[in-house]
Structure formats: structure tokens, C-alpha cells
Amino acid sequence: MTITATLNGTPQTYEPGTTVAALVEEHGWREQAVAVAVDGALVPKSRWQHAEIADGSDIITLSPMQGG
């Protein structure tokens, strides 16, 4: 049994109980400047270890790029 969530616009499947910290780790983003929002709200890094991804979540991660 898995859950489905959208990550940066792409549907993904995750094991139930997957945390934001695990997601960031899985994608190799831990060393990058990255911030995470779930369903339109910031999830501070201090909460990543305990923030579990719910079925149907809309997850956005942003990082700095050239611009402005």
C-alpha cells in the first residue's frame, strides 16, 4: 500500500509515513539550499523529521537559480 502525492507538479508514490526529511534525502537535495511547501504552506526545516506526507499532498520545493 502506497500513497500518492504531487512533487513539483509530477505525481509520485511514497510509502506511508514518509517524512519531508526522507523525501529531501531520497532526491539528494540535503546539501542544497532548498525549502519545502506542502499544500501551499511552508514546512520549516526544523519540522522535516516529523512532517509526514499525506495522501494527495501537493509538495513544492524551491531552490535558488540565476535570476533577477
Partner: protein, 260 residues
């Protein structure tokens, strides 16, 4: 590296004294190396970045280069169309980069990239309440500049012309009026095409200039960055020196006494 500020002419934004009145955008540089050389040549202490969806590895070169240069990274909210989007992107930028500063952009459409000032003022007010130092990219409308100051922005950043257009300052009177009206720093943002545009902004009384395209997409970015540095210094000095009044007829600069 020479700077544009002296002890008797400090440039303060929010909680910081900056040593350069030129702020550089990182957009449009063909590589991190080109950007690095341009930043060094410009003398800029503040460099903007945009926030985009994360892809593995893509930011490493940029952020490492900026860290090595010891510049202040100023995230922007480019790409946002509503106050709600801009507030979220600003919060994400603060989380990712550890800075309370944000260049607030809320634009109306891709064709003009002109600020949507209704959404802009709303976003600015919300972000100030959340503890941000807000530097809003705005139109050259003095009433909007006043509104942005009233809601607590740390500066106002009126455009000279649309982003990336290189058209220079289309309405110098409007920029002068903003400078005469608000007390927060006025940073000319967008529209600069070449060094004389940056000098004019400073001669009009702007406290600083923020530009990207004019440098990063020049044929020789580092050379243009150096030209901008000199232009900003020259324009500021000319503003402080006080220019002579314009006259319709000649005024002799040599004695009028008889010669032969």
C-alpha cells in the same frame, strides 16, 4: 576594489550599510564563471537570485560562486502573479537562504513583466508583518511608492523601463518625484541598457541602481560591469556636487574684459 560609498555618504538599506550603490542581478549570465567575473568587476555587494523548483545539482555552481565572493544574496519573487504566491515564495526563500531580505516582484503578464501594484502592496504589507525587509520592484508611480513606504518597505525600486528592455529611464521626472517624496532608499530597477542610463539614475538622486541584463547579456559582461560601477560612482558624485542650472543662452566662462 574601489567602492561607491564613503564615510560621509553611507548607503544604508534596512539594517545594513552597503559599500556599493550598484546591485547586480544574476539572471542571463551564460555561466557561473561569467557571473563571477561580472560581480567582481561591478564591485556589487548584493546579487539577486530567483527561486525555482528544485532540480538536483543545478544550484551548486551559482551558490558556491556567490559564497566565495562574499556577497549578500537577495532572493526575488520573480514569476509570481499574486500576492499569495509572492508571500509563499518569499517564505521559502528565507528558509532556503537564511535571509530576511526579499526583492518583491509581482508582475501582471509575460509580455510586459510590469508590476501588478495592487498585488504588490498587499504582498509587501504581509511580508513586512512577517518580519521581512522588503525591497519591492514597482512602477514609477509616486503614489504607489508612497503606499509601499507606508506599509513598511525598506526601499522602493521603481523601473526605468520594462525588465530587459534596455530602454533606459523613460520618465526621469517620475523618478525625481519619487526621490523627492519618499524617505526610504530609491533603487532604480529595470530598464538600464548602458552606463549612461545608470549615471542618469544616480544624477536624478536615486540611492542605487539594480541591473542584470545590461551586464550579463552584454558582449563583454565584465567590461560592462566595470563601466556600470564607474557610472554609478560618477552619477552619485555629480548629484552630490550639484549641477549647474540649464540656460538658454551662453554664459562666458572666460573674462569679458577686452582682449586686443
Amino acid at each position: 576594489m574601489s567602492t561607491t560609498c564613503t564615510n560621509d555618504d553611507p548607503f544604508a538599506v534596512a539594517d545594513t550599510i552597503l559599500s556599493s550603490r550598484l546591485l547586480l542581478g544574476s539572471g542571463g549570465a551564460s555561466s557561473s564563471g561569467v557571473l563571477r567575473d561580472a560581480v567582481i568587476a561591478s564591485g556589487a555587494q548584493v546579487v539577486t537570485v530567483s527561486m525555482r523548483r528544485t532540480h538536483s545539482g543545478v544550484d551548486n555552481g551559482l551558490m558556491h560562486a556567490l559564497k566565495d565572493l562574499e556577497v549578500r544574496v537577495l532572493p526575488n519573487t520573480s514569476g509570481c502573479r499574486t500576492a499569495r504566491e509572492a508571500v509563499l515564495v518569499a517564505e521559502l526563500a528565507r528558509e532556503a537562504l537564511g535571509t530576511d531580505w526579499v526583492k518583491l516582484e509581482v508582475v501582471s503578464d509575460d509580455r510586459t513583466l510590469l508590476p501588478d501594484v495592487i498585488e504588490l502592496v498587499e504582498a509587501a504589507e504581509t511580508l513586512v508583518a512577517k518580519g521581512f525587509h522588503v525591497l519591492p520592484y514597482t512602477t514609477d508611480d509616486v503614489v504607489i511608492a508612497q503606499r509601499l513606504e507606508e506599509v513598511g518597505c525598506s526601499a522602493v525600486m521603481p523601473l526605468g523601463a520594462p525588465i530587459g528592455s534596455g530602454l533606459g529611464i523613460r520618465n526621469p521626472h517620475a523618478i525625481t518625484l519619487i526621490r523627492e517624496t519618499v524617505d526610504v532608499p530609491v533603487i532604480l530597477d529595470a530598464g538600464v541598457g548602458t552606463a549612461s542610463d545608470a549615471a542618469l539614475a544616480m544624477e536624478l538622486g536615486c540611492d542605487a541602481v539594480l541591473l542584470a541584463t545590461a551586464v550579463t547579456r552584454a558582449e563583454r559582461p565584465a567590461l560592462m560591469a566595470g563601466a556600470m560601477r564607474h557610472a554609478v560612482i560618477a552619477g552619485r558624485d555629480a548629484y552630490r556636487a550639484g549641477r549647474v542650472p540649464r540656460r538658454h543662452l551662453a554664459q562666458a566662462s572666460s573674462p569679458l574684459s577686452p582682449t586686443v
